[in-house]
Symmetry: C2
Subunit: 357 residues, 2 copies
């Protein structure tokens, strides 16, 4: 009897549908021979849906998604500056609402420089680290406000909220990840010398948990210094744990140094499984290249690998990662790299999965 996993699929806007089509192709191919079936329910959400109906995410949408075992998301967001979207913050109303409502407190973002992939760094070295970004607190909570808007006396505040509960659980998860990796190293990134209240909570939490994980080496970097090391010596990193905003910034930079946002995958994880976890490429909807088969689906496909890992399907995950690696090597050797359509990348990875072994 085959295990059934209910998967909510949100292709979204822009290049989202194109990359998700390839991700689903790969998911189907890699699970064909496994005793598991992903039952997919498509959800039409994003800027297009908002323009049609005026809804970003209704309570019914949310309840329906929450009844699944996982979510696969492409990208959401309309054309920047579209006046019809001026008052719709799709990112906050959809993406962040899902992360917060589904309690995705671990935002897992691995960074690997795949063989053959060019880095903008002259000497990147061995890049293989994972950022564990807190996903439900920090400056992302939306606890701010404006008074006297539009006057010379306007004040706009943003509140970063950090709780012992929220910091402890993500730091504990990060220690667990670090303990399971060969180098067993955890770097806390924050700005403790300026954000003294939040910084103190993060630092004390790391110090306290370090005692429970004596095998893990712990260090600390200010976020500004961390950006320096990401370009001057990225191989110093193994596992980074950091808050929601710093994680947002560091993971885009990490993607940039390891071959670009087209390869950066992520998982928004609710480790206890009380809510479905959500897997998505780090890139956005890129409306300028949408519908042209120009998008690289690799990040979406690697997000499928993270999802497979999440469900304990480690073999299938490893096969996807191996096929992606092989495809990336083939790309560098190709005479005309960059000339492949979105679908042809997916097809090539499926072919590698099918013909292997």
């Amino acid at each position: 009897m085959s295990r059934r996993i209910k998967l909510a699929v949100i292709p979204g806007d822009g290049i989202g549908p194109e990359v998700i089509a390839e991700a689903v192709k790969v998911l189907d191919a890699v699970t064909a021979a496994e005793p598991v079936e992903f039952d997919k329910t498509p959800f039409s959400l994003g800027a297009a849906r908002f323009l049609e109906t005026g809804d970003v995410l209704t309570p019914d949408d949310l309840a329906a998604i929450a009844a699944h075992d996982a979510v696969l998301l492409g990208a959401v967001g309309g054309v920047p500056g579209d006046p019809r979207l001026a008052n719709a913050n799709i990112e906050r109303g959809l993406l962040l609402t899902l992360r917060f409502s589904l309690d995705h407190y671990v935002n897992l973002r691995p960074t690997v420089l795949f063989p053959g992939v060019p880095s903008p760094l002259a000497a990147p070295g061995n890049v293989d680290f994972v950022v564990i970004r807190e996903g439900t607190e920090g400056p992302y909570v939306g606890n701010g406000g404006t008074i006297r808007q539009g006057t010379p006396n306007e004040i706009a505040n943003e509140v970063s909220v950090n709780t012992a509960f929220g910091v402890e659980r993500v730091v504990r998860y990060a220690f667990g990840v670090a303990a399971g990796r060969p180098r067993q190293k955890l770097t806390l990134v924050h700005k403790t010398n300026v954000l003294v209240f939040a910084g103190s909570l993060w630092q004390r939490t790391v110090n306290a948990l370090a005692a429970e994980f004596p095998e893990v080496t712990v260090d600390y970097l200010h976020v500004d210094a961390a950006t320096i090391f990401l370009v001057s010596n990225p191989s110093r990193f193994d596992v980074i744990v950091t808050d929601n905003l710093f994680g947002d910034i560091l993971t885009d930079l990490a993607a940039a140094i390891s071959g670009g946002i087209g390869l950066a995958a992520s998982g928004n994880i609710n480790p206890e499984g009380r809510f479905p976890s959500m897997f998505e490429p780090v890139h956005g909807s890129a409306p300028d290249i949408a519908g042209k088969q120009l998008a690289d689906p690799t990040a979406a496909i690697l997000s499928v690998a993270i999802m497979l890992d999440h469900f304990g399907l480690t073999d299938a995950a490893a096969r996807v990662n191996a096929a992606v690696t092989a495809d990336l090597v083939a790309r560098t050797e190709a005479t005309a790299p960059g000339s492949r359509s979105t679908a042809s990348v997916g097809d090539a990875i499926v072919a590698l999965l099918t013909h292997e072994g």
Copy 2:
């Protein structure tokens, strides 16, 4: 009759005294033939002073410094983890107190890739931009707090405060800088899709002032995307205006791509001159290499050039910049680069200044 400028000199901790000694050497050499005299008053402040007296910055210190026309600062901060400094936040108590008390609302941080200087980027292109970082608001205001500290119910908040007054004046300054540069381009960096209250104020302020500066081309980047461009295409930037925290992060990254923090200079400017402006290298006190003549004084020397510019001594500033450029080229050509002492770099730049023309 010679113009007299009262200069408060704060060598500070770690490598601060070493780099300031060279900066003062260069200042003296370049002004020797000018109708200007810098009257220097040394201030003993920083971790060393705190350990001796328990004071970080007394009201008397602050009043004495404020009575000067400018401040030249090396670096402050003791050995990380020194238990005697556990409850002294020298950065907040000294550096940030000076920036806030002296109303340094423009934190000016130019980034130039000097000829011959190696970048960690394989193809950096023409890097020549300036970050204008707001210096008196944002998450740096210290308006946060902790409740139930040390318990499982601890909550630690940080408030980012943004005012129309504070944003308008720094954005206006940035437009002025952009208007005076050949490319006349201004990029606002923020995170308007998440920090919607502060982001909206920044974006509306830029939009409003754009009408007053029609010659300036304006664009916008989210802070995460900005880090990608800083490593993939830094030559796209001309002038960046951003908040205190994003500016902190972006300028360290900018320093990294343009040859390292050893070359990054800055000015903390009070444009109206109601308070003395303060000039300092972006780097920290680096206690691990202090006292060994290993620090590169170039960033401190370039900060002197920004100071000279600030006082309208544009000729002298240009001469310092030219001497630094020549020294950097000579360094690359030297058989054993990196083997020069702190003082020998200062001496070489003084020699270039003296023998020129």
